[in-house]
């Protein structure tokens, strides 16, 4: 069986800072990483591969630079990788992005056969929409299981542990299926030296709109129903009381007094 893992290269949002003078994002120097939830999806795929045997294929839609993210995936054990890249894809919202990815999944299924599982992170940390996985499942008319924190294969399907608001469900479905992955237990693996060497030499083929026979009206800005009207930096200014250099007892007494005054105790 083949498992396709969809990954996105994202800026490390924990490293983004706001310029205090202009109140705008400082993007320069912010490192690009594999979206952490996609790394969990990849780890899930690699664990399934170890347990049941499978070939792990990784795809990413993005600019040429996203090949770096794909190489990181190859270095930790993915078998093959493809970049999905075309000028026509620029400006795609989630509906258009999921459409392009669904065409890539369909293309790989046709070329290679036997694609059983498509794994994605539950969401990417730059957009945080959690929409691309389910939308891709709908484009492909496949069942979806979201928020999976664990997955195992059964004779004809997949069983996942799905997080919900007050616990979790064990849910199963037949393959092929789309599964989106949340934080999983245990660590994600690190690349081996051999893996890094193999990744650095790997040629990553590029799938374009033409290869995938994609109608350009359905991707990029044209294929995106949502439009960004404006962006702005949230303003957070408050002039509160800050107590420094007091003993714990003095400071605590002051805070308790403040809370009492506000009728919060």
């Amino acid at each position: 069986m083949k498992i396709i893992v969809c990954v996105k290269q994202v800026p490390d949002t924990t490293e983004i800072k706001i310029d205090p003078v202009t109140n705008t994002l400082i993007r320069a120097g912010v490192p690009s990483i594999v979206n952490p939830y996609d790394a969990y999806a990849l780890e899930t795929a690699l664990r399934l591969k170890e347990r049941y045997g499978a070939e792990v294929l990784v795809i990413s839609m993005g600019p040429e630079q996203a090949k770096e993210a794909l190489k990181e995936c190859l270095a930790v054990g993915a078998d093959r990788a493809w970049l999905i890249s075309d000028r026509a894809f620029g400006g795609s919202d989630t509906l258009a992005t999921s459409f392009v990815l669904s065409r890539a999944v369909a293309w790989l299924s046709k070329e290679l056969g036997d694609v059983g599982l498509i794994l994605c992170g539950k969401q990417a940390i730059d957009g945080d929409t959690a929409q691309v996985g389910p939308e891709m499942a709908e484009h492909l008319d496949l069942p979806q299981l979201t928020y999976a924190s664990d997955a195992e294969l059964s004779e004809d399907g997949v069983l996942v542990k799905r997080e919900n608001d007050d616990g979790y469900d064990m849910i199963k479905t037949k393959l092929p299926a789309v599964v989106t992955v949340t934080k999983i237990s245990g660590e994600t693996r690190l690349p081996s030296i051999k893996g890094k060497m193999r990744a650095s030499k790997a040629e990553i083929p590029v799938l374009t709109a033409q290869t995938l026979e994609i109608d350009v009206e359905k991707c990029g800005l044209k294929g995106s129903p949502t439009k960004v009207k404006k962006t702005f930096t949230p303003v957070r200014t408050k002039t509160g009381i800050k107590v420094e250099g007091k003993t714990a007892a003095e400071a605590a007494a002051g805070m308790a007094g403040f809370l009492d005054e506000k009728k919060l105790v």
């Binding site: 800026p11 949002t13 924990t14 706001i18 994002l25 989630t94 509906l95 730059d126 945080d128 929409t129 959690a130 929409q131 691309v132 996985g133 389910p134 939308e135 499942a137 484009h139 979201t146 069983l159 919900n164 608001d165 007050d166 616990g167 979790y168 469900d169 064990m170 849910i171 199963k172 037949k174 934080k183 129903p225 949502t226 439009k227 009207k229 404006k230 962006t231 702005f232 930096t233 949230p234 957070r236 200014t237 408050k238 509160g240 009381i241 800050k242 107590v243 420094e244 007091k246 714990a248 007892a249 400071a251 605590a252 007494a253 002051g254 805070m255 308790a256 809370l259 919060l264 105790v265």
Partner: protein
């Protein structure tokens, strides 16, 4: 889209679990009311579920002009295919202008599935909504880049316009207790769900027995961050929360370190909360965390680092060692409460 003007009314999807409505559905009736009034159209609550008549009556009491309820055993527990087929049928029948949904795990599972089937736009995790009364385009405002940036999104050419909102962002409307008036607003609907279309099966449901964490409803939250040092030190946070009758929250760092379950996490990838009082202990105040709690009425912070960004949003901050300050604070609060 040619018949854009055929799409009317503001829908709020109300998620139920075993017949009981999740609070976020009612919360969405607040912004839903504002949008409906601004364009002079109806606010409609849509409730598929099993044994949902009471939930439907509640939605009417919370101010929906109409409540479409869809009753059936197949809706007892959420499954994507059942709910997506049901909502698709209802949307095609009634053509709503706008659909608001709660950004729960199920809402975020259903929303994109439905939006994709309807080939329309969906804006996730909105924190503010407005509508242009001429174009009837909703202006959906949401955080991006981990809360570092806010974006206002439009879906100008496609209908319905869809968006999700996280629990705790809006407050529930004040309910109108007139029961008979509520009853008149209820409209039973049905959808033809084909069993062969249901492709997933819930094998087992496990409720976590860890104390129920209802952060979205809590009036007081005491949260611990990386600065507490180790898992055992959450006892300080718990004790302070107990004295105040509050709930225990956490930053992402502690969840990633497995010091506390994810259900306690406040922030961009956790819960959005708006309590009366938020006490941040050992939390530096990364923008991802601030995105989840800056709606609190009063914020107090205890942190060793005088430059921690949390002090920028705090009404009262103590620069100090929380392991020393918290026990003293507990003593002082007990004094105030005379216990």
């Amino acid at each position: 889209m040619e018949q854009k003007q055929e799409y009317k009314n503001i829908w709020v999807f109300i998620e139920t679990e075993e017949g009981k409505a999740k609070p976020v559905g009612f919360e969405l009736l607040t912004p839903g009311r504002l949008l409906a009034d601004k364009i002079g159209e109806k606010l409609v609550a849509v409730i598929p579920g099993y044994g949902v008549r009471e939930a439907a009556r509640q939605a009417a009491a919370y101010g929906a002009d109409e409540v479409l309820f869809i009753e059936g055993e197949e809706y007892r527990n959420y499954r994507t295919d059942v709910y997506a087929d049901c909502m698709t049928e209802l949307v095609e029948r009634h053509r709503p202008l706008v659909i608001l949904m709660g950004a729960t795990n199920n809402g975020r599972d259903l929303g994109p599935r439905l939006a994709c089937r309807l080939k329309t736009g969906l804006t996730a995790d909105c924190t503010a909504l407005d509508i242009d009364s001429m174009t009837k385009n909703v202006e959906w405002t949401r955080p991006a880049f981990g809360g570092n940036l806010m974006a206002t999104i439009l879906c100008p050419e496609h209908r319905p316009q869809m968006g999700t909102v996280r629990p705790g962002v809006f407050k529930k409307p004040v309910p109108d207790e007139d029961g008979s008036a509520a009853e008149q607003k209820l409209i039973g609907e049905s959808a033809g769900i084909k069993p062969e279309r249901i492709r997933t099966e819930i094998v087992e449901r496990i409720k976590e027995v860890v104390q129920s964490v209802n952060l979205e409803e809590a009036e007081i939250i005491v949260s611990g961050g990386r600065g507490i040092g180790k898992a055992e030190n959450f006892s300080y946070i718990r004790e302070l929360a107990d004295v105040l009758g509050g709930a225990v929250g956490s930053s992402r760092a502690c969840v990633d370190a497995d010091w506390i379950p994810h259900a306690h996490q406040v922030g961009q990838t956790g819960k959005t909360v708006a309590p009366k009082l938020y006490i941040a202990c050992g939390i530096s105040g990364a923008i991802q965390h601030l995105a989840g709690m800056s709606g609190a009425e009063t914020i107090v912070a205890i942190n060793k680092d005088p430059d921690a960004p949390i002090f920028g949003v705090a009404d009262y901050g103590i620069v100090g060692d929380l392991l020393e300050v918290i026990p003293e604070l507990i003593r002082e609060i007990k004094k105030v409460k005379e216990i």
